[in-house]
Assembly symmetry: D2
Homo-oligomer: 139 residues x 4
């Protein structure tokens, strides 16, 4: 079990080169909760000008990983998840908020909601996800 969840989470996040490539930012975290956001740029988009599903999926997957990992108190991996896209990913920013719903020793089942946030702060739900986080094997 790590002592300082916030520091632990930020150190892991800085080690994720893919998160940097997407210009993602880790927001507030706590045991069983995590927020990750992306300010939308042209390179995040698909052919219709919306955020690509891969961007929304990244946010869901990674927010679930942090919520579950922090709930279990250490290194963790998403073993599986499902996502429903419910509205195009538009706005100034996309933000994913995940929460661990059922936490045990061997897994944490988490849910995440991804919102498109407009310039004025209005949020619209654009995806809902549910997945399983498991402790990572020691490196």
């Amino acid at each position: 079990m790590v002592d300082d969840l916030d520091e632990f989470a930020r150190t892991v996040f800085e080690g994720q080169k893919f998160s940097a490539h997407l210009e993602a930012k880790l927001g507030p975290v706590s045991a069983g909760k995590a927020e990750i956001s992306i300010e939308l740029k042209e390179f995040h988009k698909q052919q219709h000008g919306f955020a690509h599903g891969g961007v929304v999926s990244y946010l869901a997957d990674n927010s679930i990983a942090y919520a579950g990992g922090l709930a279990m108190g250490g290194n963790a991996l998403v073993s599986e998840y499902k996502i429903n896209y419910v509205r195009p990913g538009v706005g100034k920013t996309l933000v994913a908020r995940a929460e661990a719903i059922a936490v045990g020793r061997s897994q944490a089942v988490c849910q995440s909601r991804v919102y498109g946030v407009a310039e004025d702060g209005t949020e619209k739900l654009c995806a809902i996800a549910q997945g399983t986080v498991v402790p990572a094997p020691d490196p």
Copy 2:
């Protein structure tokens, strides 16, 4: 219904700025089948040096979109999918191969498998996905 599926698929793919940002390549496509690959670079990785789940998810999501869209013959969207990660995403290249399993007018249910391909061409399964593709509303 579009006439030339291959040309249609490549035009749509070129319009996906996020696919370019990930340096993804559209492989062979046909009605109900699609392949997308990524040569792994540092920027695709997570903290343990494996491909980030977001990269694997992108490949699953997007290959499902193409397999389903081409099965239905036009613009399409993934409405939902689930993915099981079964092995770390490692290798020279990751390749996703998707197939439409059940195609109707209002949806195509597809499956995709993502493989890590070593320098010598050996493939190892790293993820399995299943999802729903629906026709895109006219722009």
Copy 3:
């Protein structure tokens, strides 16, 4: 759109012979919400004496169908869902509570939680589900 959601829901439920075969009961319903419960009997069990996954799945699937159908105001079908079992299905009763999270004209994405309820009323979460409800084609 039906006028009396409660009456509509109960009429549909009475038409489900499988629900009667499982001795399931429709609890309170409203637009976007539904509860279904089963008092556990021997015939609901698997080899370890817990409720069979098929019983828990039935509760998740059917509660999602009602929450989504009532949110959209008419006959509806579950097109897909996923479920995570998080604890054995034990107790005097299993109860599923579903809610429509994102409702549009063509689909309602819903979540359901299934609880085992002890003799003294204590509830323990035993499964979490997420799925898509679509309007049923006219018969």
Copy 4:
């Protein structure tokens, strides 16, 4: 690891009172493969005269449990799965065929397809599922 997979599977199946309540039959099994079928009766149906989604789900869930458990060689549980219904469950019989796709020590990821079988033996795909099987804790 059990010695005789077929005998083991049949003994477990006989212990499932819910399977008996649904009049389900365990078909051929082997390491990583399992078939379960149900001859459709009135009590399996929903309000439109099709097999209830709970029946189709039971078949998917339980066939996945057997395919995964037999692949890992012992008692096992489904920890999660997702199912896409693609056609109404109709016919003389419903049959689910599951296969373990990726088998490790701690999990087996499996897929199942559920078919409606007509009097003349013609099969129509009615659902596709994917899920995770984990070893059961010792009783």
